[in-house]
């Protein structure tokens, strides 16, 4: 594989960010990765800055709560998906084609993640703002 990648191809990095034309799973992949990196930054801060003065800033607290909630929920879905538990059985590829990964249990799990995410986010924000809890 000596000349692999030796010549320039189109669509590097822009292809990574391109969302139009694909389904919601690609958006979730992007958000999962970006939220993960943000959490790493937050973690370093948390471990090194023992005063934890940032905890006093409400907006930061809300932001990190929200991204952690998303990352955790979507992470559980990804574990189930990546070990092949919710992607559907192999079927016959006859026209019109059905993609079991884009429907059924997998799609249901996406919807579930989004719904639970919205509920938990609402609880979190209301809790911080002090309406409940």
């Amino acid at each position: 594989m000596s000349n692999v990648g030796a010549r320039k191809s189109r669509g590097r990095v822009t292809g990574w960010l391109k969302i139009r034309g694909y389904s919601i799973e690609k958006v979730m992949y992007l958000v999962q990765r970006i939220s993960g990196l943000m959490i790493v930054g937050f973690l370093l801060w948390h471990l090194l800055d023992t005063n934890q003065a940032y905890l006093l800033i409400t907006e930061l607290q809300i932001l990190f709560g929200v991204i952690i909630i998303f990352h955790a929920l979507n992470g559980v879905r990804l574990v189930l998906a990546e070990y092949g538990f919710i992607v559907g059985k192999p079927i016959r590829a006859v026209y019109p084609y059905k993609f079991t990964t884009l429907r059924g249990l997998q799609r249901l799990s996406v919807a579930l993640v989004i719904v639970v995410f919205i509920i938990l986010t609402a609880i979190w924000i209301l809790n911080i703002v002090g309406v409940i809890g």
Binding site: N3, V4, R10, G15, K18, E25, A81, Y83, V87, T101
Partner: protein, 265 residues
């Protein structure tokens, strides 16, 4: 109906940067993108370069990015896109040879590394067959969907991981690896393991499903890759903790005594 085509033009030998050509073509209800492109080539601009062969979604040579999504030119009708302005580019993540033609060499080099063929251990049996391996329906179904790949490269162009990691094996190759590893006749899973279970192997797939979104043959590479991960994980766990691996369920041998090993003359 008149439709405008905006087509990517680039000849690396002459041009320093790509340019766009605009053509107007009269199309009818049944015309595919490929028909329209050939019409342009025949009647307006003979320098337009494209690759095609079968015109019926079998050979996998006419993949291109049409209106921002990877599609086969011969398998997409112009009017089904519902737009007066159709943008056509070559596939992403491939070097451009000229205009809409892309270079698949790298991809096929990667494909070769995973040994995309059935591997058998018992040479004796292969040289002197005593019967036949008749597959049951469920045995066939375990790989049939994934065997339909025409190597068009649409999934490779769509995959977000390929776009940043050029060493990633690509969905097409990983789908192939699963198709052969799960085949009840195959015994080569361990031989492929060092490639597909490496840093740039199947674990760099992050289930973005862009590949399943564009596959024109209903393969669903997003599904086969996740099954491949499952297969690899249970294999390496068994090896790690029990020091042995599970015997794969193989197709039963139906003895056919009348098959003689000596060729009849």
């Amino acid at each position: 109906m008149k439709v405008t085509f905006k087509i990517f033009r680039f000849n690396p030998a002459v041009d320093s940067s790509p340019r766009w050509s605009v053509y107007e073509v009269e199309v009818d209800k049944s015309a595919t993108i490929l028909d329209a492109l050939l019409k342009i080539k025949e009647n307006i601009d003979p320098t337009l370069t494209l690759r095609y062969s079968c015109r019926q979604a079998v050979c996998g040579s006419c993949g291109m990015v049409i209106n921002g999504k990877e599609r086969l030119a011969c398998f997409t009708r112009v009017l089904e896109l519902n737009s007066n302005m159709i943008t056509i580019e070559p596939l992403k993540n491939f070097p451009v040879i000229k205009d809409l033609v892309t270079d698949f060499t790298e991809l096929f080099v990667k494909e070769k590394t995973i040994k995309p063929y059935i591997i058998r251990r018992d040479l004796e049996e292969m040289m002197k067959p005593v019967g036949m391996y008749l597959q049951k329906e469920e045995e066939t179904l375990s790989y049939l969907q994934f065997a339909e790949c025409i190597e068009c490269g649409l999934c490779v162009s769509a995959c977000p991981t390929v776009s940043i990691d050029r060493l990633f094996l690509t969905p097409m190759v990983l789908n192939k690896a699963y198709r052969f590893s799960i085949d009840p006749r195959d015994e080569g899973f361990e031989e492929r393991l060092s490639i597909i279970d490496s840093e740039h192997g199947c674990w760099r797939c992050h289930f973005a499903l862009a590949c399943s979104n564009v596959c024109p043959k209903g393969i669903d590479p997003g599904k086969s890759i996740q099954y491949l991960k499952n297969m690899i994980t249970s294999h390496s766990l068994l090896e790690l903790f029990l020091g042995r691996t599970k015997k794969k369920k193989k197709t039963e041998l139906l003895e056919r005594p009348h098959i003689s090993s000596e060729p009849e003359i």
